[in-house]
């Protein structure tokens, strides 16, 4: 059979390894009988199988191999304790891993929130919401007895109601009214307690002071039989009042107050007054009136002027009064006893002296206490009203002072000379307070002077100084200072104070020019024309400030001259410049100072002149060649520029390209290696 013959190797091996089916074996052996070649192969195969069995058998693992493997495995992988291994095994499960990662992330987020404090806010908000709902439910069911601390804060009133409804037997009332211990047995009583608390809060209102006492008494001790009037009469109350009034006339007001006091059976205790610089009066009056008339008196006071301030105090000295009274009683009894002792048992001199001493001490006490009682009586008998009176427009100034400050900046050609000239002005009415001249190392000179001028001399002196040099700046500052008060004093007189004059002197070189001009003059002989320019400048009162000369490789010559002339000579100078050559590129810049008080004619003008020649070489900047050269030059420049850009782009991209190529190369290598390995494996299987 052709197939058997072709598959001889496979069948042969399978036959030797006893892996053929019966049918296959029969077919195979039948073929062997027919085919000599395959018979030969079969013989060889059998031999080889035998040899292989012999040679390879002793290479195989020995008997103890498995046991060795196991014991070595045990050595290398020691057993872990139950929990750790459980955790380790658990961590290998994908779901557990995912959960752990999620939990970790969540924990991190929570921690972040905790650190930033975000989590606190929502929690609080929730709590508030909860409380709100609780409150709501509470309002819906008023009979419910839930009273929490927070609720009490958010709605104190409702809590109070709840408390009243729930507290059946309140503790017996104390001698003082207490808001926290009401006795709510009946609806009426409760309302009384409420009004009482309300009134206690505005205790200071003067009219209710007496009423408060009576009403609170009634509220707290409803069972007390004593009438309100008798209680009030037994009280010892010291009443004091203070009032501050603004009045038109002080004396008139004093008169009125005295009248009022007399009407109310009182008297003026003390008066004091003080006259202000502007002639207004301020003072204090202390009035004693009967306490019962106090309120009426205060009411009357309002008619005198504008009430700025009023205070009324009531001090209850009842307890102190009666304490002192009873102590006085005791002391008197003691006195009686001592006198009796003195009368009856007068044997021992030492004892006698002792008793005398004690008697003296007791009498002293009695006198002190009597004095105290008297003082209290007087205090109670009359209320003290302290009235502060002030006339209107207290703050009107008494006089004004005109203070003048002048600031003068000057430019002088010779600073020192001008400085000395100013100094010669000194006289009793012109006082020089400071004079200072500065000279720095570059030779720049500046001076500063401060003068104090008598008001009548000031203008003359200032004008004199102005004439000495060019004025850059002049400022006068006038200030009206009110004396003793503020506001508009219509009748106050105004005085002129001495004038303060500050002068700064600087060299006119430093002055900024009013006008700057730049221009070019083209000529053939630069040197010659520059010399000419100098003479022109001198003629026009100008000063050369700087000059320079240069020659470039093309033979062109430049002379730069900058000079300064007074404005009045400027036009003449410009005219004469035309004689030098062709005037080009004139540009003029003028600094207009609209409000400056300067003398324009003598103000400086700067002129920068460039005298230049065309050069003796014909310009190369025209003609076909020049154009061609320029074009090529520009082209080359453009080319260089683009090359530079390419360089930049390369530098920009190169690292990335390199990196990506590198990664790509590595990946290709890896995949190729993998493919090769796979290929090799496939090849081997495919060989069969």
């Amino acid at each position: 059979m052709a197939t058997i013959h072709e598959q001889i190797d496979e069948l042969l091996a399978a036959d030797l390894h006893d892996e053929l089916t019966a049918a296959e074996r029969d077919g195979f052996h039948a073929h062997l009988v027919e085919c000599a070649e395959c018979r030969q192969a079969f013989q060889e195969g059998k031999n080889m199988n035998r040899i292989l069995n012999e040679t390879i058998a002793d290479k195989k693992a020995d008997l103890g191999f498995e046991q060795r493997m196991i014991s070595r495995f045990r050595d290398r992988v020691p057993k872990r304790s139950g929990l750790i291994s459980l955790v380790a095994d658990l961590l290998r499960v994908r779901a557990v891993q995912l959960t752990a990662v999620a939990a970790l992330l969540l924990a991190l987020a929570q921690m972040g929130k905790m650190i930033t404090g975000e989590s606190v806010v929502p929690a609080l908000r929730n709590e508030n919401l909860m409380l709100m709902s609780e409150l709501q439910s509470d309002r819906d069911t008023p009979g419910e007895s839930r009273v929490s601390g927070v609720l009490a804060k958010t709605d104190g009133r409702s809590k109070g109601d709840h408390l009243m409804a729930q507290n059946p037997p309140a503790p017996p009332p104390q001698d003082k009214p207490s808001v926290n211990a009401p006795k709510p047995q009946t609806e009426a009583l409760r309302s009384v307690a409420k009004t009482k608390t309300n009134e206690l809060t505005d205790e200071k209102t003067p009219t209710s002071a007496a009423d408060t006492v009576t009403e609170s008494e009634y509220a707290v001790e409803p069972s007390a039989s004593s009438s309100a009037n008798s209680v009030a009469a037994n009280r010892k109350l010291v009443r004091n009042a203070t009032a501050e009034l603004e009045v038109v006339s002080f004396d008139e007001s004093i008169q009125k107050i005295t009248d009022f006091a007399a009407e109310d059976k009182g008297y003026v205790a003390t008066t004091s007054s003080e006259k202000q610089a502007n002639g207004k009066l301020r003072g204090e009056v202390v009035v004693k009136v009967l306490p019962d008339n106090l309120d009426r008196f205060l009411q009357k006071l309002r008619g005198i002027g504008e009430l700025k301030n009023q205070a009324l105090t009531t001090e209850d000295v009842t307890k102190a009064y009666f304490d002192t009274e009873s102590r006085l009683k005791n002391a008197r009894l003691m006195e009686q006893r001592l006198i009796e002792i003195l009368k009856t048992k007068s044997k021992d001199v030492a004892d006698l002296l002792e008793v005398e001493k004690e008697l003296g001490r007791v009498r002293e006490q009695i006198e002190t206490m009597q004095g105290e009682l008297k003082f209290m009586d007087s205090q109670v008998a009359f209320a003290t009203v302290t009235i502060t009176l002030a006339e209107k427009n207290m703050n009107i100034p008494a006089a004004f002072l005109l203070k003048e400050k002048a600031q003068l900046s000057l430019y002088a050609t010779e600073v020192e000379k001008t400085y000395n000239e100013i100094k010669t002005l000194a006289s009793p009415k012109v006082q020089i307070t400071t004079a200072q001249i500065d000279r720095d190392n570059t030779g720049r000179v500046s001076a500063r002077l401060s003068l104090l001028l008598a008001p009548e001399e000031s203008e003359a002196v200032i004008n004199k100084v102005k004439g000495m040099a060019r004025v850059e700046n002049f400022q006068v500052q006038t200030q009206r200072v009110s004396q003793g008060g503020d506001g508009l004093g219509e009748n106050a007189k105004t005085e002129r104070d001495k004038v303060e004059l500050n002068i700064t002197l600087s060299r006119d070189e430093q002055e900024q020019s009013l006008q700057q001009t730049t221009l070019r003059v083209r000529t053939s002989e630069v040197n010659e024309k520059t010399k000419q320019l100098r003479t022109i400048a001198e003629q026009q009162n100008g000063r050369i400030r700087s000059s320079s000369f240069s020659r470039d490789p093309n033979g062109r010559e430049y002379a730069n001259v900058s000079l300064r002339v007074p404005m009045k000579n400027y036009n003449a100078l410009m005219q004469s410049l035309n004689t030098l050559g062709k005037v080009e590129n004139v540009s003029v810049h003028r600094d207009d100072r609209p409000n400056a008080q300067i003398d324009e004619a003598s103000a400086p003008a700067d002129v920068s002149i460039q005298v230049y020649s065309q050069g003796n070489i014909v310009s190369e900047e025209t003609g076909v060649w020049a154009t061609l050269r320029r074009t090529i030059g520009q082209g080359a420049a453009a080319l260089m520029w683009s090359a530079r850009m390419i360089g930049v782009a390369l530098a920009f991209l190169a690292p990335w390209v390199l990196a990506i190529t590198g990664v790509g190369w590595v990946m290709r290598r890896v995949s190729r290696a993998r493919r090769e390995r796979k290929q090799a494996a496939e090849d081997k299987t495919g060989l069969s």
């Binding site: 598959q7 001889i8 190797d9 496979e10 069948l11 042969l12 091996a13 399978a14 030797l16 390894h17 892996e19 192969a41 013989q43 060889e44 195969g45 031999n47 080889m48 199988n49 040899i51 292989l52 069995n53 040679t55 390879i56 058998a57 290479k59 195989k60 693992a61 191999f65 498995e66 060795r68 493997m69 196991i70 070595r72 495995f73 290398r76 992988v77 057993k79 291994s85 095994d89 290998r92 499960v93 090799a680 494996a681 090849d683 081997k684 299987t685 060989l687 069969s688």
Partner: protein, 181 residues
């Protein structure tokens, strides 16, 4: 051992049951040894490979999804490790080198030289998979089905592989075999 109980043991081993894993070691260490020897042709190295294979398998056992493929997975590990070792040992590709030296030896030593060495050299020249198949078969004399399962081959593939391996060896060893015959 039935298939079902075997799979049960594999699953237990994968879950981390050490006893089950030791059972696996006991039943597979010889197979793995045969595979490693097939590649390395050296007993000591092959033993080390088997050892490493089990340690590695224990550590990464959770990677096995399908318990049925556990044996094949073990043999893959062993093959990789053995191959790594062989590569480290012999950086140059061996076939030509081997052949030339062996032929020289063969001719110089004469026809009745070391038959053992000849067989070994013939074996060494086989492709890796073929070599493994031959060692597996002759070491443990397992049936084809078991070997296929161990190597993760499809049903019936081994017959072709072994047939080709033995055929190649037969042709290589023809002179020696003829002399014996």
């Amino acid at each position: 051992m039935t298939d079902a109980s075997e799979h049960e043991i594999y699953r237990a081993a994968i879950r981390g049951d050490r006893d089950a894993f030791e059972t696996v070691i006991r039943s597979f260490s010889r197979n793995l040894f045969a595979i490693a020897y097939g590649i390395l042709q050296n007993r000591e190295e092959a033993e080390d490979v088997v050892q490493d294979t089990f340690v590695k398998a224990w550590k990464s056992r959770w990677r096995v999804r399908d318990a049925e493929k556990f044996p094949a997975w073990l043999s893959t590990i062993a093959r990789h490790r053995a191959r790594d070792l062989a590569r480290r040992r012999r950086p140059e590709p061996l076939p030509e080198d081997f052949e030339s030296s062996e032929t020289v030896e063969f001719e110089s030593a004469g026809q009745k030289a070391d038959l053992d060495g000849e067989v070994r050299s013939a074996l060494a020249q086989l492709p890796e998979l073929h070599r493994i198949a031959v060692t597996l078969r002759y070491f443990e004399e397992q049936d084809y089905g078991t070997i296929e399962q161990t190597l993760g081959l499809t049903n019936g593939a081994l017959r072709g592989i072994l047939g080709r391996a033995l055929g190649l060896m037969r042709k290589r060893l023809k002179p020696a075999l003829a002399s014996i015959g």
